[in-house]
């Protein structure tokens, strides 16, 4: 009897938890659902109707939006090029530095590591003005260099990778040295393959940051040809005016690649964030 009542109460409790969680899920994803449906409505319907589903599904809105922003393909190409180059840079500089900090002995190691970490505490805004002046000095304004090179090293990635490299047993290195390997060979043939999860996480978070960057590209580009997608969308907001369905179609186009990447690789995103969180917390 008692057991039965407990079971019913348990079941009820579980149901309640799921209901609350579902409310949270709706709060989190409803804006996207609503965005996609509105992007398929006609101008009149998008502006005036509050029903969720369009009466007429106008897939042509996407074509119109794409054509209206003549530089859309360019925005995409720019963003992909910038994000990929940044990721490559971060991985190369990060792996090398992280390895040295994790596995090598040299004077000033701890001080340099602290210096590296301290760059994470500096608000981005402080370096904004000097970096902008530097870009002008280098003649990089409105060039890809300005959008890529300052971001090809990240203290965060060095930190993340170092934590991971340290968990690789020292004895593996002894074995490699016995086989006549040097640091670089050991790093490339043993450490990198073993650290794939940390490298993927690092790459994904860098890619995401680069894809979604706004303030910096806004500042250092001044022609549509050089702009990445976020700045492009921001300027399209003004161009599209009241044509909200076109605007939402354009936004949908700009977020779909990231959503797909996220859904396919969500484990790496989430685990990465969680790991860094735990490390930072303890």
């Amino acid at each position: 009897m008692n057991l039965n009542r407990d079971r019913v109460r348990n079941l009820f409790g579980r149901l309640l938890i799921h209901l609350v969680l579902l409310a949270g899920v709706i709060w989190s994803i409803f804006p996207f659902v609503w965005m996609v449906f509105t992007s398929l409505k006609s101008y009149v319907e998008a502006a005036a109707s509050q029903s969720l589903l369009p009466t007429q599904w106008l897939f042509s809105n996407y074509l119109t939006a794409w054509n209206q922003v003549a530089v859309f393909p360019r925005y995409f190409a720019n963003t992909i090029f910038i994000a990929t180059s940044t990721v490559l840079g971060v991985l190369v500089t990060g792996t090398l530095a992280a390895y040295a900090f994790a596995r090598m002995q040299f004077p000033g190691r701890d001080v340099l590591f602290m210096l590296l970490l301290s760059t994470m505490m500096v608000p981005f805004e402080v370096t904004l003005v000097p970096n902008f002046i530097l870009m002008r000095y280098f003649g990089w304004i409105n060039h890809y260099q300005a959008l890529i090179i300052p971001w090809t090293a990240s203290a965060f990635s060095v930190f993340l990778l170092r934590q991971f490299f340290r968990s690789i047993p020292l004895d593996l290195y002894d074995a490699a040295v016995l086989d006549g390997a040097n640091h670089l060979q050991f790093l490339w043939s043993i450490v990198v393959p073993l650290s794939r999860p940390a490298l993927i996480t690092s790459a994904l978070l860098t890619f995401l940051g680069s894809w979604n960057a706004l303030m910096w590209p806004l500042l250092v580009t001044n022609t549509p040809q050089m702009r990445p997608i976020q700045v492009g969308i921001a300027s399209f907001i003004t161009d599209a005016g009241t044509q909200v369905q076109l605007l939402l179609a354009a936004v949908t186009i700009s977020v779909v690649p990231v959503i797909l990447l996220y859904l396919v690789l969500q484990r790496w995103f989430i685990e990465g964030i969680a790991t860094v969180g735990i490390h930072g917390g303890s």
Partner: protein, 339 residues
């Protein structure tokens, strides 16, 4: 690759017993290490470390970019005597107070529910984290439309509950003042509360960053040994007691981390405000400067007015504020977590 694995593992097990310090490898200085860290340090040095020092120099200068002239602390005294500086500092704090507590509490709430071993935990987590992945510019367009005064979803919901519609992103009036007005009265300036526009942006920010806290808290919760809960349950502890006496103290390091990160992030936030202002066709920091936080103020000085020295001054002052709060966090909360 598969062939080379067994010998390595063999060596590894053989070497486990060998005392490590005997090898002497640990103490040898490896000068090549500097070559390894060189690329990262060149980039970080030029674009992230040097600019901090340079920023302090610029903050002591004035004039156009090629003709800086040294003005000493003039920018600082100009900022500290400018009411706009103080009001934007106030807006920065209000914005932090409007976003941070809600994000953290909601994040912990949902993480704790997920921690109850619900089926489909992974799928819930993916959904909660989604807003964090999407660009601020993209989702701000959607949210600006939700907050549209005439056709938006937000007012549609308010009307359902019999509340008068608001003008949201284009409403510079304080929220309390709005209520007072509806009741036929008026409030003194200090009691008018944060502007409705700032609240709308805060709601957007909470929506965007909640998933991050859910993920971090869930990871922290998963680290708490399950036996502790079992033991307490056997002793007859109820759900509230479990939360109070096991979850809260053992989650303290994670909570501390989340608070430190959130304080820094919310004092620095720019993208949400910029994107929502743009999407609602407002001037940056508008309407009527009611969303003019320090970062927005700084960006305007830089981008619109090209006041490099003054913009740098604001950035330096903002860093001092952030640093102060981070230190306070470490002093007050950090000590508590250690106990």
């Amino acid at each position: 690759m598969a062939e080379s694995v067994p010998p390595i593992q063999k060596i590894r097990t053989l070497e486990v017993d060998r005392p490590r310090h005997v090898s002497g490898r640990q103490r040898k200085i490896e000068w090549t290490a500097y070559l390894f860290i060189l690329p990262a340090f060149v980039i970080l040095g030029v674009f992230h470390i040097f600019p901090v020092i340079y920023a302090i120099f610029i903050s002591l200068e004035s004039g156009p970019i090629n003709k800086f002239s040294f003005v000493g602390l003039q920018n600082y005294s100009a900022a500290l005597t400018n009411p706009v500086f103080w009001s934007s500092l106030g807006t920065t704090f209000v914005y932090a107070l409007l976003t941070m507590p809600f994000t953290i509490v909601l994040g912990l709430f949902f993480a704790y529910l997920l921690f109850q071993g619900v089926r489909g935990q992974d799928k819930y987590r993916v959904a909660f984290f989604l807003p964090y992945v999407i660009s601020t510019v993209g989702s701000s367009v959607v949210w600006a439309w939700i907050f549209d005064p005439s056709n938006g979803l937000a007012n549609f919901i308010l009307e359902r509950f019999g509340v008068q519609p608001l003008r949201w992103l284009i409403e510079p009036t304080g929220i309390f003042q709005i209520f007072a007005r509806q009741a036929g009265g008026s409030l003194p300036t200090w009691a008018q509360g944060p502007s409705v526009a700032l609240i709308a942006i805060a709601i957007f920010t909470i929506w965007q960053s909640m998933g991050y806290d859910v993920v971090i808290f869930l990871a922290g919760l998963t680290n708490i040994p399950g036996e502790l809960y079992e033991a307490a349950r056997i002793d007859g502890a109820n759900a509230a007691q479990l939360f109070r006496y096991i979850t809260i103290p053992l989650l303290a390091p994670t909570t501390f981390f989340v608070i430190v990160i959130s304080v820094i992030a919310s004092l620095q936030s720019f993208n949400q405000i910029f994107a929502m202002n743009t999407a609602a066709a407002q001037t940056l920091g508008g309407p009527l400067e009611s969303t003019n936080t320090l970062t927005v103020y700084m960006f305007n000085q830089l981008y619109t007015y090209s006041n490099y020295g003054y913009a740098s001054t604001i950035a330096v002052l903002l860093s001092i504020v952030i640093l102060a709060f981070t230190l306070i966090n470490f002093k007050v909360l950090g000590r508590q977590t250690e106990d």
